[in-house]
């Protein structure tokens, strides 16, 4: 059964919401006594990641795995976006590591890695959209 484009986007939005609802409490519980602000912060971190993963699985996935997927323009956009994001993540991580080390700042690994992941996915999404609209 093939889903229409609109159905895939709706399903991705639903899955994104469900994943956000499921992951937010888990992230919020990384704090000893989570407050409402902690939950809001957790939702802001998990939301973009959950929606990006949902989009990748339900919207981009079917296009990128077709029989002639290597010929699709979407594959080219994704490859270009991934290449740009890889450079951004490396440069950003290097700059952050240098700043933290030189100022003797100790950041918790979990939230720091989550931020890197969320920023990387957001960067990838923006780069893909920019290529799509070019």
């Amino acid at each position: 059964m093939t889903m229409t484009k609109q159905t895939r986007w709706l399903a991705a939005a639903g899955l994104g919401l469900a994943l956000t609802a499921a992951l937010t409490p888990l992230v919020a519980m990384s704090q000893p006594n989570p407050t409402a602000t902690d939950v809001m912060t957790a939702a802001m971190i998990t939301g973009p990641v959950a929606f990006a993963v949902s989009w990748l699985v339900l919207v981009a996935g079917p296009v990128l795995t077709r029989s002639y997927a290597e010929g699709n323009v979407e594959r080219t956009w994704l490859e270009r976006a991934l290449a740009g994001t890889a450079v951004d993540v490396l440069a950003g991580t290097a700059a952050a590591a240098l700043t933290l080390t030189s100022n003797d700042i100790h950041a918790p690994a979990g939230p720091a890695l989550t931020i890197v992941l969320a920023a990387g996915l957001a960067d990838l999404g923006l780069r893909y959209l920019r290529l799509r609209q070019a």
Binding site: S67, Y68, E70, G71, N72, V73
Partner: protein
């Protein structure tokens, strides 16, 4: 810079929509749109597939001559 092509002309001559052509090729409609607008060069296998679908030679789909910028 993408190579000029006659995709729109060949497709319209057969009365096909972009979606129909995409289905015949097994690619996304966005791919057909991007090739027609000269924003995307298809892979070599897809170029051969295009020629096959239109029952012509690759040179009849893509217009390459001495003045074409292939850089």
């Amino acid at each position: 810079m993408p190579i000029p092509n006659r995709l729109t002309e060949l497709r319209q001559a057969r009365g096909w929509t972009q979606r129909e052509l995409a289905e015949r090729l097994g690619v996304s409609r966005q791919t057909v749109i991007s090739i027609e607008r000269h924003r995307f060069d298809p892979s070599l296998p897809l170029a051969f597939q295009l020629a096959k679908v239109f029952d012509c030679r690759i040179e009849d789909v893509f217009q390459v001559d001495d003045s074409t910028d292939l850089s």
